[in-house]
């Protein structure tokens, strides 16, 4: 198997790995690099569970070849909290009970981070359409939307 050597930055840390040409970033994150916080729900870009940021832009890790990531910066769910503790989005998801089984939660939190960086004070419709690529089967989305609204308030007007 002709493996390719790649050097990339994951959550600010330089990481080297070997991958097969057709392997996705998702597969390499999970099976090679042990970063299992990024989840697989479909591997076809239809559920958003594997949402990560690539150079700051929201993408599905299942639709990025690992081979393409050389020299790029990847942010995964493992890179959202900081030394100071949970990111406000994470905290609000907890406070609003915005997760039940929790499998979609990492993807939703990464997607919400991208949303709030672009639209710091989104209305409900903007949130719902931005997050339409993140399927959740447990919550009916109600509490997720409320958590995002509350996180936006907190980030825009820190207490």
């Amino acid at each position: 198997m002709n493996k390719i050597q790649i050097e990339t930055a994951i959550n600010g840390e330089v990481v080297e790995f070997l991958c097969e040409p057709q392997q996705s970033l998702l597969e390499v994150l999970r099976e090679t690099l042990g970063r299992t916080g990024t989840k697989e729900g479909c591997a076809t870009g239809d559920c958003g569970a594997c949402s990560v940021l690539m150079d700051g832009r929201l993408v599905c890790a299942c639709l990025v070849l690992a081979a393409e990531t050389g020299g790029h910066a990847i942010t995964t769910i493992e890179g959202i909290a900081t030394d100071a503790g949970l990111h406000p989005i994470q905290q609000k998801f907890l406070e609003h009970a915005a997760l039940q089984c929790g499998i979609c939660t990492p993807g939703l939190i990464v997607a919400t981070k991208a949303l709030l960086e672009k639209h710091p004070e989104p209305d409900e419709t903007t949130i719902r359409y931005w997050l339409a690529g993140n399927l959740c089967r447990c919550t009916g989305y109600d509490k997720i939307i409320r958590a995002v609204q509350d996180a936006a308030r907190e980030l825009a007007h820190p207490a």
Binding site: M1, G41, C101, G102, I127, C136, C138, G140, D142
Partner: protein
């Protein structure tokens, strides 16, 4: 038990103890474990919906470098017949054949072989090298055709069960069930109005976001550990042992975190394969389904055809009802037609009724439990019929239901008299709800429907360990799908009188805690919660004895209050209360570590009723339906964690709406599912739904220490009819079949004259 009880913790919404790990990506789900030396297992699946297997040649696959093991049906022991037991339902031999076909494949996607190889790509290449010779048979896909006497048979040994005499000829009808009371002819004769109709509900998938996954590691003696995502690891262990004829003592199951189940993770698919592969390969084997495999080969719920006839007097009083219910079982017997038959008329007082229900084999995946299995289908039909009656009689749909609603003492159609239930309380709350009393938006219709589920109890175990500083560790056996660790900790906090934050809950594996049935049947907060409360009461009794020993008084002279032992009134006033921390700190001197426990088979689950109403708008040019507002009112008995109870109700509403509007299994004529992915199996996305308003009614269940009924399943039942009734009222056209997909709605509008 009274609603006036002033709880400290029960009824609040604290942050779940496993929350931080789930928002940071630390929590380990089914596919998140990687073991040293691990290899990957994959399944070869049938390209035909119905075929005889003439031969399987695995020699090329076996010879490939990096391939460690190949298995087919021939590698499985001859399985016994008999009930699986527990929640799974069905027959062991059917379960065994469902996870790996033997002589016949019965649906497109049916497993025929599996390999274990050094990488996923090698495993895929090995699957491609396996040659299977089939004799293709005509697929049986349509429910009514399958029931015909001359239909091709899935199983020539299937003779319809529950008939007065064993039938002479085999049939695709695996079983029938009848239920009835009174005399329906007499009842219909008393009716001023009779409505009747045939309703079709499509096969639908649970649609959990996490595909099935497991890792199995067997040693040379056959002792095997399996990590998997499951609603019940004890029952997975039992099924795996039965299918492989293994000693349960040789199997240890560890439940990972679980990314949704809704009933679909109550039966094994991969685990026995992984065990066999690991035993052959002598290495840990990890197996992960693709999303496509999840759709093609794991438990959808039955499509159904339901015929309803309902008679009423002019004042709205129901005089008689009959139902004919046919449910798709998929490839093996076991459609939820029994609960479908028992729930169809459950909310109403009916002197005369009859129900006939059928469990029908078709060449589609074997159905599995899905949230209130069987009830959404039959109750959809009944609740639509009631809506038609409401329109015909000019009676408000809530008033009409109130007039006929069951209450404590009403004899349920399935037998017993109802204990206290909350149906009327839900209907009364709906009638005055601001979302109901406000005008219906222009262009929209408002639909009402009632939901019901029995809820169950079953077996649970719990242990309470008091740590040396007085903090508490709970050990229980119910996988946490929706925040149950939080509700367990809350019930323990309330019972023990210690702060919620001092308690942690652990889901033990099959070797570290007592047997527990699946997280399902809305039973966890009810039954495992009851076990937790009993275990806490056990520890309180022990603490009182320890305090009595410390004080030199009799145990009955000690009371437990606010997490402390205190002397009973009149007992030596000098005695200072002893906190749990003090008792724990002194435990070495008073008898050793403090460990309380309870195990039970919980009886007396409380029936759960709901009322939903929804405003839906219809685009008359395209047939597209939009949900403008949705309100769900449900009797929870007692809400332990309010936010997670609301979440169950909201999630069930979303699933019910998805089924009503867009979700369905679409097959071609060869029996190949055309939409086996989240792109075309359209579960609701965030922008499809409005906020879902909830109202929790609390009519306590006398059988539970806090009044819990269980809430998880009832919420999916009513949304189907609430949506359909809203569309009927918005357009003036009644569409009987689901989903209310745009082409169907537009065609109905055009047929009715635009």
């Amino acid at each position: 038990m009274s609603e006036a009880i002033d709880y400290k913790v029960i009824g609040t919404s604290p942050i779940r103890p496993d929350g931080v790990d789930k928002v940071t990506g630390r929590a380990q789900y089914g596919a998140d474990l990687n073991l040293p030396n691990q290899i990957y297992g994959k399944v070869l699946r049938s390209p035909h919906a119905h075929a005889r297997i003439l031969g399987i040649d695995t020699s090329r696959a076996r010879a490939m470098p990096g391939v460690f093991a190949v298995i087919t049906g021939a590698d499985f022991p001859e399985s016994e017949r008999g009930a699986i037991g527990g929640e799974g339902g069905g027959d062991v031999s059917d379960l065994a054949k469902n996870i790996m076909a033997r002589d016949k494949v019965l649906y497109h996607g049916h497993a025929v072989a599996a390999v274990a190889a050094s990488s996923q790509s090698v495993a895929e290449a090995a699957l491609a090298a396996i040659e299977v010779r089939y004799e293709v048979l005509p697929p049986v896909l349509d429910l009514l055709s399958a029931m015909q006497p001359d239909a091709p048979l899935l199983d020539p040994n299937c003779f319809t069960k529950n008939l007065p005499e064993k039938p002479e000829r085999p049939s695709n009808i695996a079983a029938v069930m009848k239920l009835g009371r009174g005399n329906v002819d007499e009842g219909f004769a008393q009716a001023d109005v009779i409505v009747e109709g045939e309703y079709r509900i499509p096969m639908a998938h649970q649609g959990y976001i996490e595909p099935h996954a497991c890792v199995a590691s067997a040693n040379e003696q056959g002792q095997t550990t399996v990590w998997c995502c499951t609603q019940g690891h004890f029952e997975f262990r039992a099924m795996t042992a039965k299918v492989l004829r293994m000693n349960i003592a040789d199997l240890k199951f560890i439940a990972s975190e679980i990314g949704g189940g809704f009933g679909g993770k109550t039966v094994v698919y991969l685990e026995p394969l992984a065990v066999l592969l690991s035993r052959k390969a002598r290495r840990p084997v990890k197996m992960m389904m693709t999303r496509e495999e999840v759709f093609r080969a794991t438990g959808p719920t039955s499509g159904a055809i339901c015929r309803i006839r309902l008679g009423a007097r002019r004042d709205g009083t129901f005089t008689a009802a009959s139902a004919w219910l046919a449910y798709e079982a998929g490839a093996y017997a076991g459609a939820p037609m029994g609960p479908g038959a028992m729930t169809v008329f459950a909310p109403y007082v009916l002197e005369h009724f009859q129900v006939e229900a059928f469990d029908v084999l078709v060449n589609k995946p074997k159905v599995a439990a899905y949230r209130a299995p069987g009830a959404p289908q039959s109750m959809y039909a009944m609740e639509c019929a009631i809506d038609e009656l409401s329109i015909r009689l000019g009676i408000d749909p809530i008033d009409l239901r109130l007039k006929n609603a069951a209450e404590a003492g009403t004899q349920a159609p399935y037998g017993p008299k109802f204990p206290p239930i909350g149906l009327k309380a839900c209907l009364e709350a709906a009638r005055v709800h601001p979302n109901y009393t406000r005008p219906v938006p222009a262009g929209a219709g408002r639909g009402v429907a009632v939901g019901f589920w029995f809820n169950v109890g079953m077996q649970s175990s719990a242990e309470v360990h008091i740590n040396e500083n007085g903090t508490v560790t709970l050990v229980e056996g119910s996988p946490d799908i929706g925040g149950s660790r939080a509700s367990m900790c809350m019930m323990a906090a309330e019972t023990l009188g210690v702060p919620y934050e001092q308690i942690r809950a652990l889901i033990g594996d099959t070797e570290s805690t007592g047997f527990s049935n699946v997280t399902g049947g809305s039973r966890t907060t009810f039954a495992t919660g009851m076990a937790v409360v009993r275990a806490c009461e056990d520890i309180i009794a022990q603490c009182k004895a320890r305090a009595a020993a410390t004080w030199g008084v009799d145990a009955d002279q000690v009371l437990w209050e606010d997490g402390r032992a205190i002397p009973a009134p009149g007992v030596n006033a000098e005695l200072k209360p002893l906190s749990l921390a003090e008792i724990a700190g002194n435990a070495a001197r008073t008898g050793g570590p403090l460990l309380g426990r309870a195990s039970l088979n919980a009886q007396g689950a409380g029936a759960g009723f709901s009322v939903n109403f929804a405003d839906l708008a219809v685009d008359r040019e395209t047939g597209k339906v939009d949900v403008l507002a949705f309100t769900a009112i449900q009797d929870a008995g007692k809400a332990i964690h309010r936010a997670y109870v609301e979440g169950q109700i909201q999630g069930g509403a979303a699933q019910g709406l998805g089924w009503a509007l867009n979700e369905e299994y679409i097959y071609d004529e060869q029996g190949v599912m055309q939409n086996a992915g989240f792109l075309d199996y359209r579960i609701p996305v965030a922008s499809d739904l409005p906020m879902i308003d909830t109202q929790i009614i609390e009519v306590p269940n006398p059988s539970h220490p806090f009044g819990v009924r269980g809430v998880g399943e009832t919420p999916i039942v009513a949304p189907l009819a609430a949506a359909a009734n809203a569309v009927a009222r918005a357009t003036g056209v009644r569409i009987h079949d689901l989903p209310l997909a745009p082409p169907r709605v537009l065609a109905a509008l055009e047929a009715a004259g635009g």
